[in-house]
């Protein structure tokens, strides 16, 4: 049985391979992924989460921001 951890990892790998193409038209949006496929793009992460819960009751999905820049951690950068 697939776990949410392996689903996140597999989706992330697939997302990274498609990221360059997605950036062109979806930069800053949030991709809903399942089984290595991008299902849809959303303007806000909350909307992506609600759509994921509605479409996939088994909760096997993940959300990735269409962005190729790493996050700055602020004060936690030095933790």
């Amino acid at each position: 049985m697939t776990s949410i951890r392996s689903e996140i990892d597999a989706n992330f790998d697939a997302f990274q391979r498609q990221l360059h193409a997605s950036l062109t038209s979806h930069r800053g949006e949030f991709a809903l992924l399942r089984h290595g496929q991008i299902i849809d793009f959303f303007e806000f992460p909350g909307a992506a989460l609600i759509a994921g819960k509605e479409r996939f009751p088994d909760a096997l999905f993940s959300i990735q921001e269409v962005n190729d820049e790493p996050i700055d951690l602020g004060v936690w950068s030095h933790a």
Partner: protein, 139 residues
């Protein structure tokens, strides 16, 4: 337009806040936290105890940049609420709740249990004065 005014202690800017789940807009139960206002952080964050209290599950992962290099961390979707009246920390009024954000889980801190990053601050007017007063205004 909602406005929040409070005072910092001269060492850091913290503010009473609320963390809510984001998977049901009608679910207004919240976990009260003390949040660091961190203009250097791209994303807001919550401590592990808050993740546990709200039973949040990771939704993805993201590359982060830290002093020691880059690392991959889990991401979580949650909502942050801010209280208009920051004087009553025991019985706070109901908070103004922002739309869900994609934030991070940080390590524990003795001074705060969440951080408000630029994903929230970018939606606000934020000012700080020499008398230690701080003000957040948002729509």
């Amino acid at each position: 337009m909602p406005e929040i005014e409070w005072w910092h202690d001269g060492r850091r800017i913290v503010i009473p806040a609320a963390i809510l789940r984001a998977d049901d807009p009608a679910d207004l139960r919240f976990h009260p936290v003390t949040a660091l206002v961190d203009t250097g952080a791209t994303s807001s964050g919550i401590m592990p105890a808050v993740v546990e209290a709200l039973d949040l599950a990771p939704v993805g992962k993201r590359l982060v940049k830290a002093a020691h290099g880059e690392a991959m961390v889990d991401t979580f979707v949650f909502r942050i609420g801010l209280f208009a009246d920051t004087s009553d920390r025991i019985q706070p009024s109901f908070p103004y709740v922002f739309d869900g954000i994609m934030g991070l889980r940080f390590g524990p801190s003795e001074h705060f249990d969440a951080s408000v990053g630029m994903d929230i601050l970018g939606q606000c007017d934020f000012s700080i004065a020499r008398n230690r007063s701080c003000r957040l205004t948002f729509c």
